[in-house]
């Protein structure tokens, strides 16, 4: 018997850790990793609630989340590599040509 509150607390914690990571990591790839945490937290929620409500759609939603995470990672990493190529850095706080 898995209490839903346990899981949603866990996913909340995961979510907040992800947020913390996003806000503190300087390396763009590390930030992308933190974003994966957030997505996982959301997916976990969906699966847990879907289990509670007995919905198949929730699992499908989680499936789509995983797929999208893959896409996002691909595009994100491509952008990081592009950035590395043009700016010779992957540290997100070092790129501030654009401001004001």
């Amino acid at each position: 018997m898995i209490p839903v509150t346990h899981l949603s607390l866990l996913s909340s914690a995961l979510f907040c850790l992800g947020v913390y990571g996003i806000l503190t990591r300087r390396n763009a790839i590390a930030i992308l990793l933190s974003i994966e945490l957030i997505l996982n937290a959301a997916a976990l929620n969906f699966v847990a609630f879907g289990r509670a409500f007995g919905h198949a759609q929730a699992q499908a939603f989680a499936l789509f989340i995983i797929a999208l995470a893959a896409c996002e990672a691909a595009v994100g990493l491509a952008i990081v590599i592009g950035l590395y190529r043009t700016a010779r850095t992957v540290w997100a706080d070092q790129v501030n040509l654009l401001k004001g």
Binding site: Y20, R25, A52, G54, I66, V80, V90
Partner: protein
């Protein structure tokens, strides 16, 4: 209730695994290790999926996330490993103290907010008989959710094309 006990134990173990390795992901200096920690998180979450009787999803999680995304990440880390512009001064990998304080504060506040509302969620709790079978999910995917399927394919295409074009070393022609 040995199975129940097993489940409880597994649940706590997985929770611990997920949280600790998530902590590593956000805290470890070494990017490579952070990525490996993320793998642990993903595996932990997959384990939770198993506990929630969503075995297919756990399988997909391992396959796609750990197998594909993480590999990609590792590649990217290696590609950009020779960090970086030597003229830029070396600094700690996770921002200044003030930034970390603020981040911690915000995250903690967010957690408090989230935690304060969990009670309202899925109040019904989990019933054993409600497990969703894989066939149900498959049925959904080819009937109700056919449109998202179409869309995600388009997302795949655009993401791939975009990623390739962006990462490509130079203009094709």
């Amino acid at each position: 209730m040995p199975s129940s006990l097993l489940i409880q134990t597994g649940l706590w173990a997985l929770t611990l695994l997920v949280l600790v390795s998530a902590g590593f992901v956000v805290a470890l200096r070494n990017l490579f290790r952070a990525a490996l920690s993320l793998g642990l998180v993903l595996v932990g979450v997959a384990g939770l999926f198993v506990l929630l009787e969503a075995e297919f999803l756990a399988f997909v999680q391992i396959l796609i996330y750990v197998g594909a995304i993480l590999t990609l990440v590792v590649f990217a880390i290696m590609l950009t490993a020779r960090v970086s512009n030597p003229r830029l001064p070396p600094r700690p990998p996770s921002g200044s103290g003030r930034q970390r304080m603020a981040a911690a504060l915000v995250s903690a506040a967010l957690f408090i907010l989230l935690a304060s509302v969990t009670r309202a969620l899925a109040a019904a709790g989990l019933q054993p008989g409600q497990a969703v079978s894989l066939s149900q999910v498959g049925q959904e995917l080819i009937t109700t959710l056919v449109l998202p399927f179409e869309l995600i394919s388009l997302v795949f295409v655009s993401a791939m094309v975009g990623a390739i074009a962006v990462a490509a070393s130079r203009s094709p022609r």
